[in-house]
Symmetry: C2
Subunit: 224 residues, 2 copies
């Protein structure tokens, strides 16, 4: 297995170079970009839908969905009201990388977009190893996954900028030790911005939308 290490390192540094290019393109067009990462079924797509529905009247939104095989998620984003939605089928690859995002960006008119949401492949490990070149990496945790996840997936919890704790409506029905979960998060990523919410009931969604709104508005070119 040691034979692979140099190759992996080369891919990673090439990836970082492309990620920097992606970020420069987004900055030049004043687009604020988020990358949603999560386990399968934590609710990334539901959060995309909630976010698009909540902000479509304020901002011009685009969604890029990474998936192994289907376009179910991109269709859901369009139904919710995204101006543009693009599906990246990774053909089995377990994560998005900067070159996939670069290719997807060529299909978007960035001057016609304020906010870009990238929905990564459902995987709590591999996506965290590949920077895409966005402004904010968001981890979507969920209550039924269990409170031990920060301890078991430290690399991902350590590297993210923002944490959403989804499915809080299920707290009465599943054992979940919130203090234990929060302690793990705090050890790995002290003070990370956190939004507990439910995409089903809508509880907590307003605070999340207000935070994104502030990020997008901060990037707008001041009018003289």
């Amino acid at each position: 297995m040691t034979k692979t290490i140099p190759v992996v390192e080369k891919i990673l540094s090439a990836n970082d170079r492309l990620a920097a290019e992606n970020l420069a393109r987004l900055n030049a067009a004043n687009v604020f970009a988020l990358n949603f990462m999560a386990s399968p079924g934590a609710g990334k797509t539901s959060l995309v839908e909630r976010t698009v529905r909540g902000l479509a009247s304020k901002f011009r939104l685009a969604v890029i969905n990474g998936d192994l095989a289907t376009s179910i998620d991109a269709e859901r984003a369009e139904v919710a009201g995204a101006s543009v939605s693009i599906q990246i089928n990774t053909g089995g690859d377990c994560h998005l990388d900067a070159i996939m995002l670069q290719e997807a960006l060529t299909h978007l008119d960035l001057t016609a977009i304020d906010l870009l949401i990238v929905e990564n492949v459902g995987n709590l490990i591999c996506p965290a190893n590949f920077r895409l070149g966005v402004h904010n990496n968001v981890l979507v945790a969920s209550i039924p996954e269990g409170a031990d996840k920060p301890y078991k997936y430290p690399g991902t919890y350590r590297g993210v900028d923002t944490l959403v704790i989804n499915k809080i409506d299920l707290l009465p029905y599943v054992p979940f030790d919130m203090a234990y979960f929060r302690r793990g998060v705090e050890l790995l990523n002290p003070g990370v911005t956190t939004f507990p919410l439910s995409c089903v009931t809508g509880e907590g969604v307003d605070a999340w939308l207000a935070w994104i709104t502030a990020q997008v508005e901060a990037r707008r070119i001041p009018q003289a």
Copy 2:
């Protein structure tokens, strides 16, 4: 990225060779071995606990846990009554492979074991690409993940021998279209043996334990 392909192919065929060696060792010792695969938080460890608790009086059990960083799962298996439990910390690797299992097997006295459960890393994509050399690959799906998972992770659903649908106690609290889920499973893996159950309430666990019991007993050397 194409540069990596030959290396990956070499690793995979080396892996298959080692998997065949692992299977031969298990067969020589009449050990029945299962590999549990699932998303993070689908309930692999809870299923290990239920299985160990339900079968520890009948069989001599060993558990091998794959995890990125902690030994939480191995400790849970021991508390539940496994004769031996071994932790493989992958140090960030997103899956177990045959060489990791081979190394772990050197720490076990296979003549003192009837049933071996390998708990893979929580990941619905990568573990399915690496055979370990066990008799049965078990996918643990769970209700809160959502019913679209077979469609979105077809490689994993296609390749498994047995499907557990865990957390059926949450069916009243989350939207889950069982007919849609089952249709996806049937398309990819027609007739796969399926156990809907709840590790919390215990519903459905007896059928699962009866199935394992039958597999282990079928491998026992007939007494003259």
